[in-house]
Structure formats: structure tokens, C-alpha cells
């Protein structure tokens, strides 16, 4: 077993909205190559924590750093540049574009050329374009939607859109992927496919942090689970530990369930 | 010093009518989220109404004013029902462009009907101005100030003391919740647009006799209305009133002490300066969260 190298570090993060303390003194790490899930009852602060880590919200205290680089004050596109890419729960795709065009947009970071070269159609620019288009096809194949690559993303089923959303995030070439309730609204077989996909992504060296409600899915895919309640971490550890942790059971099911 | 006092008096007169313009637009822009490019045309319409009623129909000047206001109200309602209601739910760009189309058509219509030559309206006030110490103000302008103040107070009462006003405020704060609570949006929207338009028409009816009346007079008025709305914050009536007076003051001081040619630029410069400094306006009431 290789030694764990921390990738994402969340240190003493707290956030206040006026008088409301949404998160207080959050501390956890995600190691390189891990799959970590962030769970907790509704209102526990998972989404808030997620938005802070991905740069969409600034914490009142504390800091988040990725591979040693603090994310303080970085804009979302800069955070993507250092390798952290997130998916979205609701609008996860560009609905009026084909899957192909969606992926091409996602491949923005990989397709950078100098503007004059692009406008003049110089060979170097054309080569980059060709490579990017090939990659778009690869990504579509990889999530199983290769045959539908020229369909409008908005015409896909909910589960398929989520797959495109993940492919879109992967297109940006992340070293760490942050998934926002990726399987919410999916049926059992779609969820199963998704779990395989996540494992596949991790085996290619991408670290994964996900926020989710679906407990069986979380239990089956995570290396470690971090449990939030009322804005603070109440438990942390591998799935088996969490499954039996009284604090977690109480948080979800109430005191009586602990003694059941 | 006396010059400054004179500017101040002029500012009060002008500010009152600007406030009417601003209140009208901030209601429409705030409650309906429509970038109303026809607001200037309604201003022009109010002025031409005065011309028709006083000069062409020979009616009493003081009766003409309510006629102009009611006509503005009616035109506003027609615009909302024919152009905006069918497009409800479209993106803001589409409605904006439709408003531009209506503006072009209506202004060209005015040009076609009345021609480009400026018209003036006879007023029943004595020529000699009222002189108080170092300051002089014409009776007409005093009347304008009084009428504007009356209309502002009436609008306040409408918005804050009536059921309709309450419904309008609720719709402004949260459209969906308001309709879930039983507010009839199909009634609120045309009412809002009509009221806002009537205020613009009132401003035009008041200022038309002060200056002259020509088809493009509403263009500048429209921009000034937007400047006032931006100054005062969307949907903020008090802000619109304050904004109206600030704009009038800036224009008076700018014209008096800088250059009269750039007087009308004051409104534009204010818009640009305020939005660069505070992109949500000076007195923005609610910040969007999330």
C-alpha cells in the first residue's frame, strides 16, 4: 500500500451567512487517488462545503488548498486550471448543443491555440483541432454515448445527461473531480453504470470527491466517508466504520434508532 | 450665490418631473423585469396629448392634464396586452427588442402624423414670473412642481396603502410566491405597465408646455429615466425620487458651471459612472443570493 499523499486539504473552514453559521471549523483531506464521499442529512452544509471547495463561495474563515496551492480568491476558471473540476446537479450540460459540441466546449483547456494561428488556419492550430475532435469522440465512447454523439444534449434522458456532464468535466482534464449529487434521480441500473464509471475514472489516476444522498451507492463506491451534520464533521472513516457509527445513525434516524 | 439659488429652484422643478419619469420606469422595470424602451415614447405621447387637447380641441389647460394621464394609462395597457403578454416567459432580450420595435414604430408614427416641426402649447399662466428675492420662477413652472408633487404623493399612496399596491409590491419581491398566494399576475402586469406609462405621460404633459414638443423629445427622457432607475435601484420608488432630483441637480450644475452643450450628457455619464462603481445601482434594495 503506497503512502497517502494529500491532494485536497480543507483546513478550519467556516462560513457565516449573516447570523447563521452554516459551517464551523471544517477539517478534512482527500488523498491522491482516493474516492471520498461527503454525506449528511439535509441542511447539514454539504452543498455549502462543496461550493467553497470549488470556488463558487468564499469562506469566512479557513482555507482550502489543492496540491499545496491555496484556492483563496481564485476564480472558478482558475481553479479548473489547476486541475479541480466539478459537475453540477441541475444544469449539467449545454442543452442546445450536441453531445459532440458539449465535449468540444469542455475540451477548452486542451484546445488552446494562439488566436492569429486559429484565424489563419495554420497547421499547428489545425493539428490541435483534430486532436481535440478525436478526444471528443473518445470521451463520448467512454461514457457509452458514442453512437448518440450528434444528438442534442437537451434531448437525452436525465441519466444520460449526467453522463455527458461527467464526460464534460473529464474533458477539462482534471486531476481531481468533484461530483455534485451525481446519481440523484437515477434508477438502480443507471446508478450501477455510474459507479463503474467512477471506479474507472479513479483507476486512471483522478482523485474523486462526491456529495451524495444515495447511501448504498456511497457505501459501495467510497474509500472513505466524511459525515456532516449541523455544519460540522461528526464522523469520518471507511464505509464499514461509518455504517455502525452511533453518531451517524443518530443524525439520520434519530436517537431511538441507535438503540434499536 | 443668487445664481446658485436659481439653479436650485430650477432643479426642484425639473427634479419633480424627472422623479415621475423615474418612478414609472422603476415600477415597470422592477416588477415586470422588462427593459421598457417605450417609456420615452409615452413621455412624448403625453406632451402631444396636451397639444391636441389644448391647441387643437381648444379645451381647458387644467382639464387637459388628467386627459393626458389617462390616455397614457390606456396606451400603456394596450402595449402590455398586445405585445408583452404574448411574450411572457420569453427571455429578456426578446422583450427588449420588441419594445425597441414598438418605440421605432410609434415615434415614426408621431413624426408622420405631426411632422418634425416643434409645436408649442399655450398656457393660461401670466407671462411675468414670480420673483422672490434673488430668485425668479415662472408660474407655469410652479404649477409643474405642484402637479408633480401631487402625483408623486398619489403614487406613494397607491403603492403603499392600497390592495393593488400591496399586490404589486408582493409581485416585485417574489413573483412565484405572490401568484401562489392568489395575486392575479394577469391583472398586476398590465396595471403596473399602465401606471408606469401614465406617469411618463404625465411628465411629458407637464414639461411639454414648458419647452417645445417634437417627436424625438422622448429619446433623451428615456435615457434619463434609465439613469434615475439605476441611481435609485430597481423597484425602489424613494430611490427614484431621490435619483430624479440628483439628476436634475447634476444637469443644472453641469450646464451652469461646466458647459451647456454637455447638459444632456450628465444623465449618461451618471449611468456609466454609477454602474462602473456599483454594478447593482446606488440604492439597490435586495442583493441576489445564490
Amino acid at each position: 500500500m503506497t503512502t497517502a499523499v494529500p491532494a485536497l486539504k480543507v483546513e478550519h473552514v467556516a462560513i457565516h451567512f449573516g447570523g447563521l453559521v452554516a459551517l464551523s471549523d471544517l477539517n478534512f483531506t482527500v488523498d491522491e487517488g482516493e474516492i471520498v464521499s461527503l454525506i449528511g442529512p439535509n441542511g447539514a452544509g454539504k452543498t455549502t462545503a462543496f461550493n467553497i471547495v470549488t470556488g463558487f463561495l468564499a469562506p469566512t474563515h479557513g482555507s482550502v488548498s489543492y496540491r499545496g496551492t491555496p484556492l483563496d480568491g481564485l476564480k472558478p476558471h482558475q481553479i479548473a486550471d489547476i486541475g479541480l473540476v466539478r459537475t453540477f446537479q441541475r444544469t449539467s450540460v449545454f442543452p442546445n448543443d450536441t453531445i459532440y459540441d458539449n465535449l468540444l466546449i469542455g475540451l477548452h483547456r486542451q484546445s488552446r491555440v494562439h488566436l492569429p494561428e486559429a484565424l489563419l488556419g495554420l497547421p499547428r492550430a489545425r493539428l490541435t483541432e483534430r486532436k481535440v475532435r478525436e478526444r471528443a469522440h473518445e470521451l463520448a465512447e467512454w461514457v457509452g454515448l458514442g453512437r448518440r454523439i450528434h444528438d442534442l444534449a437537451g434531448s437525452l434522458s436525465y441519466g444520460e445527461q449526467r453522463l455527458v456532464g461527467v464526460a464534460l468535466a473529464l474533458a477539462a482534464g482534471p486531476s481531481m473531480l468533484l461530483l455534485d449529487e451525481p446519481v440523484s434521480g437515477m434508477n438502480a441500473s443507471e446508478t450501477h453504470t455510474f459507479v463503474e464509471l467512477i471506479r474507472n475514472i479513479r483507476s486512471r489516476g483522478v482523485t474523486i470527491l462526491l456529495v451524495e444522498h444515495d447511501m448504498p451507492m456511497v457505501m459501495s463506491v467510497s474509500d472513505r466517508i466524511v459525515v456532516l451534520n449541523y455544519g460540522r464533521i461528526i464522523a469520518e472513516g471507511p464505509p464499514d466504520t461509518i455504517r455502525n457509527d452511533p453518531a451517524v445513525i443518530e443524525a439520520y434516524l434519530g436517537k431511538a434508532a441507535v438503540h434499536a | 450665490m443668487s445664481e446658485f439659488l436659481q439653479h436650485l429652484v430650477n432643479m426642484l422643478v425639473l427634479g419633480g418631473t424627472y422623479a415621475l419619469l423615474g418612478i414609472g420606469l422603476t415600477l415597470i422595470f422592477g416588477i415586470m423585469n422588462v427593459v421598457n424602451f417605450t417609456h420615452g415614447v409615452l413621455y412624448t405621447f403625453g406632451a402631444y396629448m396636451m397639444f391636441i387637447v389644448v391647441q387643437q380641441l381648444g379645451m381647458n389647460f387644467f382639464l387637459a392634464l388628467p386627459v393626458a394621464v389617462v390616455a397614457g394609462w390606456a396606451l400603456g395597457a394596450i402595449i402590455e396586452l398586445t405585445l408583452l403578454r404574448p411574450l411572457r416567459g420569453s427571455d429578456i432580450d426578446t422583450t427588449m427588442l420588441v419594445m425597441i420595435g414598438a418605440w421605432i414604430a410609434m415615434q415614426s408614427g408621431a413624426l408622420w402624423i405631426w411632422g418634425g416641426v416643434a409645436k408649442s402649447v399655450a398656457t393660461p399662466f401670466p407671462e411675468a414670473p414670480l420673483v422672490i428675492g434673488p430668485v425668479s420662477v415662472s408660474w407655469l413652472r410652479l404649477f409643474v412642481l405642484a402637479a408633480a408633487a401631487l402625483l408623486i404623493v398619489a403614487t406613494y399612496l397607491l403603492i403603499n396603502r392600497t390592495k393593488l399596491g400591496c399586490a404589486m409590491r408582493a409581485t416585485f419581491q417574489d413573483h412565484d410566491t405572490a401568484s401562489l398566494m392568489g395575486v392575479n399576475v394577469d391583472l398586476i402586469y398590465p396595471s403596473t405597465f399602465a401606471i408606469g406609462s401614465s406617469l411618463a405621460a404625465a411628465a411629458g404633459a407637464l414639461l411639454g408646455p414648458v419647452y417645445v414638443i417634437f417627436p424625438q423629445m422622448g429619446d433623451l427622457a428615456a435615457v434619463k429615466a434609465f439613469a434615475i432607475v439605476i441611481l435609485g435601484g430597481l423597484g425602489n420608488i424613494t430611490g427614484a425620487v431621490i435619483g430624479g432630483f440628483i439628476l436634475a441637480l447634476a444637469e443644472e450644475l453641469g450646464a451652469g458651471y461646466v458647459s451647456s452643450g454637455y447638459r444632456d450628457a450628465m444623465g449618461f455619464l451618471i449611468i456609466i459612472a454609477v454602474l462602473i462603481a456599483r454594478p447593482t445601482g446606488l440604492f439597490a434594495r435586495s442583493e441576489r443570493v445564490g
Binding site: 470549488t54 463558487f56 472558478p76 476558471h77 479548473a80 486550471d81 473540476v85 466539478r86 450540460v93 449545454f94 442546445n96 448543443d97 450536441t98 459532440y100 459540441d101 468540444l104 466546449i105 477548452h108 483547456r109 484546445s111 488552446r112 488566436l115 486559429a118 483541432e129 475532435r133 469522440h137 453512437r147 448518440r148 442534442l152 464534460l168 468535466a169 | 427593459v35 405585445l83 420569453s90 429578456i92 426578446t94 427588449m96 427588442l97 420588441v98 425597441i100 420595435g101 414598438a102 418605440w103 421605432i104 414604430a105 415615434q107 415614426s108 408622420w112 429619446d219 435615457v223 434609465f226 458647459s259 452643450g261 444632456d264 450628457a265 449618461f268 455619464l269 454602474l275 454594478p279 445601482g281
Partner: protein, 348 residues
């Protein structure tokens, strides 16, 4: 297929002066062509980046004035006795300078647009254009104000080895405008199909999502604004050297509205849209002139804009191509989708 259609169109347009003799129509075609270049540049901001900039005429006018003043020379006094004197330069220099200066203004607007979004942005752009108009009107020492800048010289293109080609006649101007229009079209098409174009589209469709994959909003908007403004400035310069007299009325809001109508009716976000819209609304006055007074025409244009927004909100070209693909049994191409066209034939 598309390439052939494009080449045929260009050839057809190029042949026009050979059979069209009416100077009035030629004049209309030339000014229409200039406005089409302006409309194409507006489309870049409005249709491909989703920024409703209604001050576009400012870039056009600034280009016109820059070019005119560069070729006429000027002498202005600043801070008392200190004078800035500019000797007249060849008009062709004015053309390129117009592109640069307009582009710079586009840069300012682009940076501004990042801070101020949505309806407020629209208002700011309108204000910007009006301020420019008032400056042109009042800074008489520089611009002659309402007295206008006249006797602007025609552009002369230096030909290596030979003497220069002076663009004096309508024939010359027509071909110059056509050339610039084709160059502008190709430039915009290439831009839209490049990764910059995709970034613009991503921003327009879903900014939050676009930003999460690394698209820089400010940079993209600014780039679009600069290129859009520069092309508009080029059009302005062509206008100044063709009409040879310009006054502050060039900044009238009605000129922005004309370009907006051309873009919206033709189809924003489509490359051919502004051209179709431009030809229709640029040439309509010519055909309506015998039957309708100008004011009545404008009533009609306002009405047409409204009707198009109600019935064909996407514009003529996209609605037409949608109809065509339905007839062929294909799924309609998505809005504004130039990216995938090249590989449509690749196996799935």
C-alpha cells in the same frame, strides 16, 4: 457543398457591377454592404456571445471619425497654448488606424461588460454611444461638430511596382466593400469555429458550467468585443471615405437599431443571418421609396421587427435551414452550430 454555395454567392455578388447600371441602386448596395459589415460584427457580440450591446454604432462612428481625421489632419489646442497638430496621412493609414482605435474602445467596453451584466449592460452601452455622439457634437475644434468633416479623400491602395489605385468611383467602392465584407465574414467564421468561438458559445448558453471547465469570462467577452468593434471600425472607415462627409448624426441610435434589425431578422448566431437581414433591410428603402414616406417606412420596420420576434424568433436563416433539414428527414441542426459541421460525415 457549403463551400461551393459560398463561392457561387461571392462570384454572383462580384458580377453585379457588370450588369447593374443604375447609380442609385449601386449607391444603395454599397451603403448596404457597409452596414452589413457592421451587422456581422454586431452579430459576433449579440448572436455568438449573447451580449446585447446597443451602442454598436459608437464603434462604427469612431472608426469613421478616426479615419477621416487621420486623412484630413487636425489642430487642437489643449491646456491653453499647447497644440496637438496632426498632418494629413494617406487615407489607407486612416483605415487601419480606425480598426485599431475602434478595437481599443471595444476593449474598454469588454472590460466593462464583465462587471455590468444583463439589462444594465444594455443601458451602459447605449449611454456610451450617446456620450460619444455628444462629444463629437460639442468638441468642435476637433470634429467641426454639426458643420461636419467634409472633403474626405478617397482611399488609395498602393500597388507595388505601379502607381496607387484610387478608390473613387462607385465601381471601385463596391469591390472594396465586397472585399472587406468577405474578409470579415471569413474571419468571423473562423473565429466562431475555433475554440474561442466555443468559449463564447459556452458562456452564452450556461456561464456557470462554462466557467467550471476553465473558460475565462472576462477574457472571452473582451476578445469578442475587441474583434467586433474593430470590424465595425473598418466599416466606419469605408463609410467615411465613400460618402466623404461625416457629422455627429452618424452616432444616432437609429443606426444601431438598423444593424440590430438586420441581425435579429436575419438570424442572430448564424453566419449568413446578418447578410440576409442586411440585404432585406438595406435595400427595402430603395423599393419602398416611391410608395412610402421615410417616416412610414420606419413604422413598417418597427412593425416587421416585432412580427419577426413573434413568428420567427430565431430569424430567417435558422428558421429556413430548420425547414430544409426537416424536409430532408434530418434532425434539425442545433442553434448556432458551426462546430460539428465538418465532421458530420464521420462514422458514429
Amino acid at each position: 457543398m457549403k463551400l461551393i454555395a459560398t463561392l457561387v454567392s461571392i462570384a454572383a455578388l462580384a458580377s453585379v457591377p457588370l450588369w447593374l447600371r443604375d447609380p442609385y441602386l449601386m449607391n444603395a448596395l454599397i451603403t448596404t454592404g457597409i452596414f452589413i459589415i457592421g451587422a456581422m460584427s454586431l452579430n459576433l457580440l449579440l448572436g455568438f456571445t449573447g451580449q446585447l450591446s446597443l451602442g454598436h454604432v459608437a464603434f462604427f462612428g469612431i472608426g469613421a471619425y478616426t479615419s477621416a481625421l487621420t486623412s484630413l489632419g487636425f489642430d487642437i489646442g489643449v491646456f491653453g497654448d499647447f497644440h496637438i497638430v496632426h498632418e494629413p496621412w494617406p487615407p489607407i493609414a486612416g483605415f487601419f488606424l480606425a480598426i485599431v482605435v475602434a478595437g481599443l474602445c471595444g476593449y474598454l467596453v469588454g472590460r466593462l461588460s464583465f462587471r455590468v451584466r444583463g439589462a444594465y449592460f444594455v443601458i451602459v452601452t447605449i449611454s456610451f454611444a450617446e456620450v460619444v455622439r455628444l462629444v463629437a457634437l460639442n468638441w468642435i475644434e476637433l470634429t467641426q461638430g454639426p458643420l461636419a468633416l467634409n472633403n474626405i479623400r478617397s482611399i488609395a491602395i498602393p500597388l507595388p511596382g505601379l502607381s496607387e489605385l484610387v478608390i473613387r468611383t462607385k465601381l471601385h467602392n463596391y469591390y472594396l466593400v465586397l472585399t472587406v465584407a468577405v474578409i470579415a465574414y471569413v474571419l468571423i467564421a473562423r473565429l466562431v469555429r475555433s475554440h474561442f468561438g466555443r468559449a463564447m458559445r459556452g458562456l452564452m448558453e450556461n456561464e456557470t458550467l462554462a466557467v467550471s471547465v476553465g473558460i475565462d469570462v472576462t477574457r472571452t467577452l473582451t476578445l469578442a468585443a475587441v474583434i467586433s468593434a474593430a470590424i465595425a471600425g473598418a466599416a466606419g472607415s469605408l463609410y467615411a471615405h465613400y460618402i466623404r462627409i461625416i457629422d455627429p448624426d452618424i452616432f444616432a441610435f437609429i443606426n444601431t437599431v438598423t444593424m440590430v434589425i438586420m441581425v435579429i431578422s436575419g438570424g442572430k448566431g448564424s453566419l449568413a443571418g446578418p447578410i440576409v437581414g442586411g440585404l432585406i433591410f438595406g435595400l427595402m428603402p430603395v423599393f419602398l421609396r416611391p410608395i412610402m414616406a421615410p417616416e412610414a417606412q420606419w413604422i413598417a420596420y418597427g412593425g416587421v421587427l416585432i412580427v419577426i420576434l413573434f413568428l420567427l424568433p430565431r430569424g430567417i436563416v435558422p428558421s429556413f435551414s430548420r425547414l430544409l433539414s426537416k424536409q430532408r428527414g434530418q434532425a434539425p441542426a442545433p442553434d448556432g452550430m458551426a462546430f460539428a459541421k465538418n465532421d458530420a460525415k464521420e462514422p458514429a
